[in-house]
């Protein structure tokens, strides 16, 4: 799980172009959206692409994403349970 969390943080920094951030800067238990990283609706859509591309998980809409993108840890748990690649 810890390995997946690190991999996920690296992936998020890469696809969301979080310049100057390192995995250590992201608290896996903190909310991904809202104040923390300053992410917006386009970032949420891009995370849906990341879930599909890296883990073979297809999310129908951004609403479904809201639950899953609560924190990096919640995302990792969802990926572990549902990944197809």
């Amino acid at each position: 799980m810890e390995e997946l969390i690190l991999e996920l943080k690296e992936g998020i920094i890469d696809v969301l172009n979080l310049e100057g951030m390192t995995p250590a800067d992201i608290d896996e238990n903190a909310p991904l959206f809202g104040e923390g990283l300053g992410l917006d609706s386009i970032d949420a859509l891009e995370l849906i692409v990341l879930m599909d591309k890296n883990y073979g998980i297809k999310l129908a809409n951004a609403e479904q994403g809201k639950e899953i993108f609560k924190s990096v840890r919640v995302m990792a748990e969802y990926i572990q349970a549902n990944r197809t690649k």
Binding site: V15, L16, N17, L18, E19, G20, G38, D40, S41, I42, D43, L45, E46, I48, V49, D52, K53, N61, A62
Partner: protein, 589 residues
Amino acid sequence: MIYSIGDSIISPLAMTSHGNFDAILRGESRLQYYEHAFGLPEPCFLSLFDEVRLDQSFSALWDYGTAGYTKMEKAAIIAASQAIEEANIAADRDNVIFILSTTKGNVDLLEENPYEPERVYLWRSAQLIAEFFDNPNTPVVVSNACISGCAAQITAANLLNAGRYQYAVVVGAETLSKFIVSGFQSFKALSKERCKPFDANRCGLNLGEAAAAIVYTTGSDFTQVPNNALILRAGAINNDANHISGPSRTGEGLLRSITKVTRGYDTSRITFINAHGTATPYNDDMESVAIYRAGLQDTPVNSLKGYFGHTLGAAGVLETILSHQALKHQTVIRSMGTDTPGTASPVNVVLQPQPTSGDAFMKLISGFGGSNAALLMEIKRNNESVKTQCIASLQREKTTISVISECKINDDSVILNGQTIITRTGESDNWMADIYHSIGMQYPKFFKMDNLCKAGTLAAELLLKDVDFDRETVKPDWAVVLMNQASSLDDDRHYQATIQDADNYYPSPAIFVYTLANIVTGEIAIRHKIGGESSFYVFPAFSSELVQKTIDQCFAANPELTQIICGWVDYDNGRCDVRMYLVQLTINN
């Protein structure tokens, strides 16, 4: 005063304005379900041209086959040809200007291009369309995302009012492709069923193809205007200064546009509002809020998206023509697809066609880049006296337009007010980021932008570096008006790479959102809280005269403006060419 003397709509429904109007009165639509349109994995609802029929119509105009023009160009040429014929003007004269409204032009050629390489450029399509009619002038391309069709009509008014031309042929044209549909799918913006504008259960938009054209002319004598002609009374463009893809929750920009076009006008005369009504949850909520805040909650509102889908660059032109037809036939078109209205604020959605004897309507439109526009239009009725003061160039007696600062960025250097402030070092492979760090900018969003937006954002930052202005509140008296030759092609190529390979098909929403040239105006508006006009034009090459004239027209059309960030911003094939200015208008005592 400018008014229309000819129009045409080419759509999957019918090949004339009348034909389309009759078809929608019968409740027809060519929106249909496609399991794998353009080879896409996800299904969607689209309204697509019958290409055989399109080619037949085109062949009637042109003796040399249909292979030389793309589908978008053919549709645009047929529409323009019909409108010109009705207007009975000589389009080969130099007093006629062509204005093309399109968001993506021939972008499908990025996948495979059997034509010359320039054919993916919007200016090239516009040039071919103007040349088809032997027109000698450099055509104007308005590429302002979804508001382009209304913005192009405002541009026509500005050019005609400036006295530069006698006639403007405004052509809106859009055809669909894997590029466009996949992008909207990645945005989760498409409905898998028929769209339901303003409905409580709406779940996204449908896309459609169309071309539509209007010939406008100018005159000062109202009695000369033919009966039933459409008069463009007022137009406005305003930025939300909020987000590049999401509309303002409070309808700020659209409300500013509505307020501007209705200032001093008896709004009880507005027979109906033809809204954008895309049927996405956010757009329709935003429009309802703006209409309600403007006090127009009882005015009938319709959307035509249920008939044609969202026809992007054609939408503003197509919907203006059909709203004009509706007034001509004394009816208000019903908003097809709306079953149970349900939006953030209550509005009076037209569920059944209504008879009317009214003579005015308002057209609303909004789009990516935070852009919004409103048009106030009237139909000329028999023997009517002049009721209104129409859109006209502003007679400002004593004003001075001065350049406050200027910034040039090329591949080697950044020049601010004539001084080279940054020079590129030999091995730099990220020039835009180098400039960002060098000027000490703190704006994490910068790294999410495409190269065009980065270049424009950096230049704007430098232009305003030493200027004292209100950075905290949205400024309706500031505008951003930019132009280039490549539109968003640099980012278009990056997006195409995410969909080119079927085995590695992951369309990126974060890249797709930048495949509209006017997003750079939106980014600058957000960063510096600019709430006036935001516009983007495409021309074949830079000319300082073009920039100068565009600034003059923008100030003339917008009496409230005091500052414009304007100029040229281009990023193409790894080359950056920025020449931007902050100009200020002062009234002399």
